[in-house]
């Protein structure tokens, strides 16, 4: 039909602004960095780029800091997923019940999300200071020895995982909460009549009903976890001994502090491919779990 053709054209027109923005800020830059990744592009000499073939790619796999950063981000992703998502679900369950002060808790749990990551990082720097920080002060009440936190190569990444989970959980709590409130109350009533206790109701009604929400949250957390940069940049500068160096931070530093844009581009192409592969795997796994709710 004629009008549907017009509609289709109109549809393209509507998405055009978004497409233009995507093209300008995502697709074209990506193609450009692909191009740069085969050159010795130095940010100070944009006029003299030389083709170096696969040299940047070969160097990437020989770069101990880049390899270390891959190890670090794996550690971060593996730990942040259950901690942050679990924390978000727990918080959502707490504020889902009607209680006095509920609004206060909801706001408190969500508040870290509103504050910029930079501010959060600086705030935690004070809390985590081994010599005068609040956290060691609290630990000393329980007669626990003062911990080095960010100044120790062993603890630094776990500390950043904790801070990130604290910061990020509030947002996912809100999504979980929306999911919880969508569960029909009649299901719980029926279960209660059948004599199911609270734990059984949670296990057999709440969790299955939250499945689509959980998949969505897992996917977004997974992808954003790979982009970790601000926290280590502010709190540790990737140290001590590169124990909190992440790929994105390392790529940024190589490109803009060390001025090696060509090399940084090669690393970002490799890292981009790694993320795409893992996202596909992750989607396969979560979809394989059954589609009854999809």
């Amino acid at each position: 039909m004629k009008s549907s053709g017009l509609k289709r054209q109109l549809g393209w027109l509507y998405v055009l602004p978004a497409l233009l923005i995507l093209l300008t800020f995502l697709i074209i830059p990506f193609l450009m960095s692909f191009d740069y990744s085969f050159t010795d592009y130095n940010i100070l000499t944009p006029w003299s780029k030389h083709w170096v073939g696969f040299a940047n790619y070969i160097n990437t796999f020989k770069d101990p800091v880049f390899l270390e950063s891959l190890k670090n981000i794996a550690q971060f992703v593996i730990f942040i997923m259950p901690i942050q998502v679990g924390l978000a679900l727990a918080l959502a369950l707490i504020v889902n019940k009607k209680r006095p002060w509920n609004t206060f808790f909801k706001i408190s749990f969500f508040a870290p999300q509103v504050v910029s990551l930079t501010v959060v990082s600086i705030l935690w720097l004070y809390i985590l200071n081994p010599d005068q920080g609040l956290l060691n002060g609290i630990l000393s009440v329980f007669h626990i020895k003062a911990q080095p936190f960010l100044t120790s190569p062993k603890q630094a990444m776990f500390t950043i995982i904790g801070v990130s989970a604290w910061q990020g959980a509030g947002y996912q709590m809100l999504i979980f909460l929306a999911g919880l409130q969508n569960i029909p109350h009649s299901l719980y009533e029926a279960a209660e009549l059948d004599g199911a206790n609270a734990w059984q109701r949670f296990l057999h009604i709440t969790l299955p009903s939250l499945k689509p929400t959980t998949i969505m949250i897992l996917t977004t957390t997974f992808i954003s976890a790979f982009n970790l940069m601000i926290q280590p940049m502010i709190m540790t500068q990737g140290g001590p001994q590169n124990s909190t160096m992440t790929p994105i931070y390392y790529i940024y530093r190589t490109g803009f502090t060390d001025r090696q844009l060509g090399y940084a581009s090669a690393m970002s192409v490799i890292y981009g491919i790694i993320i795409i592969i893992f996202t596909i795997i992750q989607r396969k796994i979560t979809n394989a779990g059954g589609d009854e709710n999809a």
Binding site: S3, L6, L10, L13, Y14, L16, P17, L20, I21, T24, N42, I43, L44, T45, P46, Y126, N129, P130, D131, Q132, P148, T151, S152, P153, Q237, G239, P240, Q241, F256, T257, D258, R259
Partner: protein
């Protein structure tokens, strides 16, 4: 009837569609305008009498205000009718914003005629031909401090001229020193500094008395501050990062002399005299007896901590050499390769670093002068702490190395400091130095 209705509907829809069309077009136009507006607003003057300049400070800073006055004077006083115009591009704490703008301008070819740049950038900018030699336009060069000339010189040519100097001192709390039993007669001077052993003995006295680290050496700062403030210890011992040509680090960064300075840093942490996680404002609030900090601390202490009775001590020296060394360096002016009228740009830089302008800007910003003659003028006006710094700067100052890959080298230096302060993990300083010398070597080859 029904048919008519449909036609009417269609017409109505058509109008609606037209409207949306227009909105869509307007939206696209707006996006395009925004995108285009971002570029090309920085046309450097094609008129040869005009000189454009970028500076990294804000026009509300004392430094920015003084610069604007200096520029106004230049426009009035120069005999060739040159007109200079400055654009203020405040940098972020770590120097971000401003340098990003320079990098972007390189890509779009929109650099101004004159820029300000930080000392350690001289080599990279000169090597990349972003800036060009400026020496022949500068008058009275003999009056400039040697450290300023070293900082701005690359491969034997002067590429940039510093307009101020900086330094670090060991601030100390007089009351706490007295309480811990450090006698006033023991207080060191530039002529008779403490060596590292004497310094450690004093730290022990203080640490034992107050049960707190004696000094905050800013070891939690892994930025440029690390090399800037700690390299003088290495230079005092006769060590260095590279050979003078800047081509070899192995054999220099892991030499006995360099290692001895890093051993001193490790000992300070290991013995509890300093800490890798200092309390915020610990010196200002009387928790630490000493603070290693820059000239900028003078104003903070004078304005905000009026009850604190403090003084400034020189760097402790290597017991092997007894050589007093202090850090130097700051921002400078340079002429870009894009400068159309070299004479005009050179005249502007020469004017901004003359005695009068430098005095105005350095006094306004309470920084150390870059000319001997300006020091003499400032000595009459400033307090004892600034007097100490001016003297320390002129008699013991040491410029940072001029290296193309300076960002990588300074970071490796900071990482080395962090490595040796983790003394349990890295008890063997020499081993750390051997490894890190190789890392630096890698950056020198390129």
């Amino acid at each position: 009837m029904f048919y008519f209705f449909v036609i009417k509907m269609k017409r109505f829809k058509g109008r609606e569609i037209m409207k949306k069309w227009k909105i869509g077009v307007a939206a696209i136009a707006a996006v395009a305008a925004l995108a285009l507006g971002g570029c090309g607003n920085n046309q450097s003057g094609s008129n040869s009498k005009n000189v454009t300049m970028w500076i990294h400070v804000s026009n509300t800073d004392p430094e920015g205000k003084a610069l604007q006055k200096n520029i106004n004077d230049f426009n009035k006083e120069n005999k060739h009718g040159y007109k200079a115009k400055v654009q203020f591009i405040p940098r972020s704490g770590s120097g971000g914003g401003y340098e990003d703008k320079i990098n972007a301008a390189l890509n779009s070819g929109s650099l101004p005629d004159v820029i300000s740049l930080d000392g350690p950038n001289t080599a990279a900018y000169a090597h990349s031909k972003i800036i060009q030699p400026v020496g022949k336009y500068i008058s009275n060069k003999g009056d400039l401090l040697q450290t300023i000339k070293n900082q701005g010189t690359y491969k034997g040519k002067m590429y940039a001229v510093g307009y101020s100097e900086s330094s670090i001192g060991f601030y100390y709390n007089k009351k706490m020193f007295k309480e811990a039993g450090v006698k006033p007669s023991e207080i060191p001077t530039l002529e008779k500094p403490w060596n590292w052993n004497q310094f450690e003995a004093v730290c022990k006295k203080i640490t034992d008395h107050f049960h707190e680290p004696a000094i905050n050496m800013s070891l939690n700062d892994h930025s440029e501050m690390s090399l800037y403030s700690l390299a003088p210890l290495m230079w005092s011992a006769g060590g260095s990062i590279t050979n003078p040509a800047g081509t070899k680090a192995v054999g220099y960064f892991n030499s006995k002399q360099t290692t001895s300075a890093f051993q001193f840093i490790q000992d300070m942490v290991k013995k509890g005299y300093t800490t890798i996680s200092p309390k915020d404002k610990g010196f200002e609030t009387g928790k630490y007896a000493m603070l290693m900090s820059g000239t900028w601390e003078v104003q903070t202490l004078q304005n905000q901590y009026k009850n604190l009775d403090w003084g400034v001590l020189p760097y402790p020296v290597s017991p092997k050499t007894n050589k007093e060394v202090s850090p130097t360096g700051s921002w400078q002016y340079a002429m870009t390769s894009a400068a159309k009228n070299k004479k005009a740009a050179g005249a502007l830089i020469n004017f901004l670093v003359n005695k009068k302008c430098m005095y105005r800007s350095d006094m306004a910003n309470t920084v150390l002068p870059a000319r001997k003659s300006v020091s003499k003028m400032m000595m009459l006006k400033v307090g004892p702490a600034m007097k100490f710094f001016i003297k320390q700067n002129q008699t013991t100052g040491h410029a940072r190395p001029v290296l193309v890959n300076y960002p990588q080298v300074t970071r490796t230096f900071a990482e080395t400091v962090q490595d040796v302060t983790l003394y349990k993990k890295n008890p063997n300083v020499q081993k750390v130095m051997n490894n890190q010398a190789k890392v630096i070597q890698k950056y020198l080859k390129k």
